[in-house]
């Protein structure tokens, strides 16, 4: 089709970077992690749904939610996976376990790393708890949680 093209590719990128605020509920959530090493939730009593991370609204009925309550740091493994590839698709020298943790007494939770001595012992339904960075090292980020570990 047509003649041989010499300039076959044009390279480019989208040269932007971002700074995200955490939102009204997110700000509360991460302040509690940073200052107190615990998780807070909001609850819609009408739908009987407890949100972690907390939200200012119930996604099901749009009730306005406030009243942040401490739900502690323990939960169960809803599901997990063993990642063998890095963020940019390269093979990881040491695979890592990622779990979706349902925090006790809530309908939400967090997705985070799971640290275990024996990977073959991980199972769905396993009880786990969050391990935080030392208070002085916390910045108010999801990475203030180092990982979850079995109880």
């Amino acid at each position: 089709m047509g003649k041989e093209i010499r300039t076959k590719k044009w390279e480019g990128e989208i040269p932007v970077h971002y700074l995200y605020t955490y939102g009204l509920a997110g700000e509360k959530f991460f302040r509690e992690i940073k200052d107190r090493g615990t998780f807070v939730a909001t609850k819609c009593s009408k739908c009987n749904v407890t949100y972690v991370p907390p939200r200012i609204y119930c996604e099901r009925c749009f009730a306005e939610l406030g009243n942040y309550k401490d739900v502690g740091t323990k939960g169960t493994v809803e599901t997990y996976t063993v990642c063998h590839e890095s963020a940019d698709g390269k093979k990881l020298s040491k695979p890592e376990i990622i779990a979706a943790v349902r925090l006790d007494g809530t309908d939400g939770g967090l997705v985070h790393r799971l640290s275990v001595a024996d990977p073959s012992k991980v199972n769905i339904g396993m009880k786990v708890e969050a391990v935080f960075a030392e208070p002085a090292k916390r910045t108010g980020s999801i990475n203030d949680i180092l990982h979850f570990r079995p109880i």
Partner: protein, 376 residues
């Protein structure tokens, strides 16, 4: 309510790379075919829909670059950042509203032009709760597959059987990029992506474009010998959060199919629907989607496929044809239309009166769409 039909389709042959054509030239090719197939020219098309996402195209506003290659200059044209089947749904609504008689819908993939596909996919994750973990985006599929297998009783072997079936089916599809004769062992030995997900469970990327022309009942009857009627179409989004979703379930597929069945008057999909094309971007998704949409009892899809009792994704699916981004749903629909018209060659089913195509928007989304088509 009057009916709406698909009266023309155009597709490129999908390939791992398409270095000879720009995205514009790729789309022009498929549009030309679709208009010819519908026996119309671009001038007859009153409105246009492109299904695309900015960061896939590499533009801040990809909508700018949609009209020329479809013949849509100075016409009502819109972008749906969604699956092609959602785009069909929009065209359906515009025609039913009585605003237009003929509408064209397009979706394409220039996947090969994205140098950082994993980073782009991860950029869809929540910026505060998920993205800072700096993970490969397939982890979301790994989490989902594990829970789905746990809940349903299907196994990784069943998932491998989906891969084997779809890549084999693709050998008979001249549009498919990844037809192959492989076995379950090959899938098992393909290497881990995000356990239990193996590399071969993930569909390979492909470039391609599909365009379809829709028309109202009167126009369809006057133009087309083989109109394919839209009997039902719906779409649904479940909670987007990784923290709040039910990992084992494809709620979006269940709810979207329920609405589409209602519209189409379908009570028993397994009996009433002859041609079934479902999203299989990851192998387990085919099983999960078939069960969610009621084609078999929960937990039985894997065995039925292993035993060869479910002939789904005769096109080869995304595993066999290649993953075409928003055009994946288009490839599913294209096969259903082709079968319903009796044009599927050696893949042709004997009984092909009703068909269903389903799309899913990939990780980390919980959005899917369903369309039900019939040839009478």
């Amino acid at each position: 309510m009057k009916r709406v039909a698909i009266i023309g389709t155009g597709s490129t042959a999908h390939k791992a790379k398409t270095p000879d054509v720009s995205y514009r030239e790729l789309i022009f090719g498929a549009a030309t075919k679709a208009y010819a197939d519908a026996r119309i020219t671009h001038k007859d098309v009153q409105s246009f829909v492109t299904c695309a996402e900015d960061f896939i195209e590499g533009y801040s506003i990809a909508d700018e670059y949609t009209p020329d290659q479809l013949g849509a200059v100075l016409k009502p044209m819109q972008t749906i950042p969604g699956d092609f089947i959602q785009g069909l749904g929009v065209a359906y609504m515009m025609i039913q509203a009585g605003i237009f008689r003929i509408v064209a819908v397009e979706a394409h993939s220039k996947f090969s032009n994205i140098k950082t596909p994993d980073e782009v996919a991860s950029f869809a994750l929540d910026p505060v709760y998920n993205r800072p973990l700096n993970l490969n985006p397939h982890f979301v599929a790994g989490l989902e597959m594990n829970r789905y297998l746990h809940d349903s009783g299907n196994t990784a072997t069943h998932c491998a059987a989906v891969v084997v079936k779809n890549r084999k089916n693709a050998l008979k599809n001249p549009l498919a990029a990844y037809g192959a004769e492989i076995n379950i062992k090959d899938v098992e030995n393909s290497g881990e992506a995000s356990w239990p997900l193996r590399k071969a469970d993930v569909s390979n990327r492909a470039d391609g474009c599909i365009v379809m022309v829709l028309a109202d009942e009167d126009t369809a009857k006057s133009l087309s010998k083989k109109p394919v009627w839209i009997k039902g179409v719906s779409w649904c989004s479940d909670t987007p959060g990784l923290e709040t979703r039910e990992w084992g379930k494809a709620v979006y597929a269940e709810l979207a199919s329920k609405k589409a069945y209602e519209m189409a008057g379908i009570k028993n999909p397994a009996k009433e629907i002859d041609v079934v094309e479902v999203d299989d971007e990851y192998s387990y998704k085919e099983l999960q989607h078939l069960e969610a949409m009621g084609f078999c009892e929960k937990g039985t899809a894997g065995k039925l496929i292993l035993d060869g009792e479910l002939s789904t994704n005769l096109s080869g699916g995304s595993l066999g044809m290649g993953h075409l981004l928003e055009a994946s749903g288009a490839a599913r629909t294209y096969e259903v239309v082709t079968q319903l018209r009796g044009d599927a060659g050696e893949r042709q089913l004997k009984k092909a009166g009703f068909g269903l195509a389903q799309g899913w928007r990939g990780v980390p989304t919980t959005t899917g769409a369903v369309i039900i088509l019939a040839n009478s």
